[in-house]
C-alpha cells in the first residue's frame, strides 16, 4: 500500500514536471474517474445534457455521442480546445466554452479531457 502511494506520488511529481514542458499535461492516476464525475455533474460539465456518453443515463442528443475520441482527436490538444472553447470551431455552437468562461477550473478541465479521451 505504502509502495503504491509512493508510486502514485512519484507519478504525479513526474506529471507536474512534465506539465511544465508539454501540454496537455500527462494523465495522473485517477484522472479518468474524477473527470467522469465532473463531466456527469449537473453543476459542472453536465455533458450528458447534450451528449450520449457510456455510463450516463438519459443523455440529450444535441451534440454527437462521445465515442472513439482517440480516433476523432488523434491530437489530445485539439480535444482540449474543443472543450475549452468550442466557439473557435463553430462560432454559433450551443456548447458552452467550459475553459474560456471558467465553468471548469484548469484542473477540472484537464481531468475531463482525460476522461473524454478514454472514451
Amino acid at each position: 500500500m505504502r509502495k503504491a502511494m509512493k508510486l502514485v506520488m512519484a507519478a504525479s511529481v513526474v506529471a507536474l514536471v512534465m506539465s511544465v514542458t508539454i501540454t496537455p499535461a500527462t494523465a495522473v492516476a485517477g484522472d479518468v474517474e474524477e473527470g467522469k464525475v465532473i463531466a456527469f455533474d449537473r453543476q459542472k460539465g453536465n455533458c450528458l445534457a447534450c451528449h450520449a456518453i457510456e455510463g450516463g443515463s438519459l443523455p440529450g442528443n444535441i451534440g454527437p455521442p462521445l465515442v472513439q475520441m482517440k480516433s476523432r482527436f488523434p491530437d489530445k490538444a485539439k480535444l482540449r480546445d474543443q472543450i475549452f472553447d468550442p466557439t473557435r470551431n463553430n462560432p454559433n455552437t450551443i456548447m458552452p466554452p467550459f475553459g474560456k468562461l471558467d465553468l471548469l477550473t484548469a484542473e477540472e478541465l484537464r481531468k475531463v479531457v482525460e476522461f473524454v479521451y478514454s472514451l
Partner: protein, 276 residues
C-alpha cells in the same frame, strides 16, 4: 458525423437570420420554412401544443392530464375576479373593448402614445390603477387566474400581432436581439435551444419550437404548482443558462414577448393549458 454536419448547417442558417435586418414578415416566413423542413408532417396549428406536437408518448400523457384540466379552477376563479366590481363599482370589463371578452389575441400590442409594448397583464394592472386599486403581483396567483379566464374566452382566436410603425419595429428588433443573444454563464441564446435544436433533447427534455410559444398561456405546471404567465417561463429558461432574469414587465421582457408573439402570428390561441 452526418449529425455534426447538420448541426453546423442549422447554426449557419440562423447566424445569417440573426445578423440581417430582415422585415418581420420575412423573419416569420423563414422561421416557418426552417421548421417546415425539420418537421415536414407537422400541421401549422399543432405548433400551439409545443413538445406534445412532436412526441406521441408525451402527447398521450398530456392528454390524460387535459381530461381533468388542472387549470379549470383557475378559469372559474379568474372569472369571479374579473366580474367582481372594484370599490368604485366598476369592473375590469370597463377598461377593455367588448368588455374584455374574446380579446386576448390582440395582445401584446404597441402603444403609440407611450412608445411601449403593452401586455395583457399590464393592461389588467393598469385597469386596477385607473380604478384606484393596488396592482396585483405578476406571474402567479390572481393575475394568472384573470389571464386564464380572459384567454379562455379567446380560445381559437387567431393571433395577429401588428407592427404599426418605426418605433414598434424597434421594439420588435430589441425582442429579436434578446432572442438571439447568448446569455448567462452557459452562454446560450433562446434560439440555440428553441430554433437550432428544436426537436432534439437536452438531457431528458425535448425542446419545443419557438413558433407557438406565445399561443397557449397561462400554463399550469406541476413544477410551479399553479398557473403562471409567459414571462414567468422566460425566468425559468434564463435560470437554466444561469442568466439573470429581467424584471417582470421590463422593456426587455415586453419586447421579447412582442417578438415571440409575432412568431406565433396566424396561430389560434389555446390557453390556458398544462405543461410538464
Amino acid at each position: 458525423m452526418r449529425k455534426i454536419g447538420s448541426i453546423v448547417v442549422a447554426g449557419c442558417l440562423l447566424g445569417v437570420a440573426a445578423s440581417t435586418f430582415a422585415a418581420p414578415e420575412d423573419d416569420l416566413k423563414s422561421l416557418q420554412k426552417f421548421y417546415k423542413e425539420r418537421f415536414p408532417d407537422l400541421k401549422q396549428d399543432e405548433y400551439v401544443n409545443g413538445v406534445y406536437a412532436l412526441d406521441a408518448g408525451l402527447r398521450e400523457q398530456w392528454q390524460a392530464i387535459e381530461d381533468f384540466p388542472p387549470y379549470e379552477m383557475d378559469i372559474d376563479e379568474g372569472k369571479k375576479l374579473f366580474e367582481t366590481p372594484f370599490k368604485n363599482g366598476k369592473t375590469y370589463g370597463s377598461c377593455f373593448e367588448k368588455g374584455g371578452i374574446s380579446i386576448a389575441h390582440k395582445y401584446p400590442y404597441f402603444d403609440a402614445k407611450t412608445g411601449k409594448v403593452v401586455t395583457l397583464e399590464q393592461a389588467v394592472n393598469d385597469c386596477r390603477k385607473t380604478n384606484g386599486e393596488e396592482p396585483l403581483p405578476w406571474y402567479k396567483g390572481k393575475i394568472a387566474q384573470i389571464m386564464s379566464y380572459m384567454n379562455f374566452t379567446s380560445r381559437g382566436n387567431v393571433i395577429k400581432v401588428d407592427i404599426p410603425n418605426d418605433a414598434a419595429r424597434q421594439a420588435y428588433e430589441q425582442g429579436r436581439k434578446y432572442y438571439f443573444a447568448r446569455r448567462g454563464q452557459l452562454n446560450m441564446s433562446c434560439a440555440h435551444c428553441h430554433i437550432d435544436n428544436a426537436g432534439r433533447r437536452i438531457r431528458a427534455d425535448l425542446l419545443s419550437p419557438a413558433i407557438g410559444h406565445a399561443a397557449h398561456w397561462p400554463v399550469y405546471r406541476s413544477d410551479w404548482g399553479a398557473v403562471g404567465t409567459l414571462q414567468m417561463r422566460f425566468d425559468g429558461c434564463n435560470k437554466q443558462v444561469r442568466a439573470k432574469a429581467a424584471a417582470p414587465q421590463s422593456d426587455e421582457y415586453r419586447n421579447l414577448e412582442y417578438f415571440i408573439t409575432y412568431m406565433s402570428n396566424g396561430l389560434p390561441l389555446a390557453g390556458p393549458t398544462s405543461r410538464k
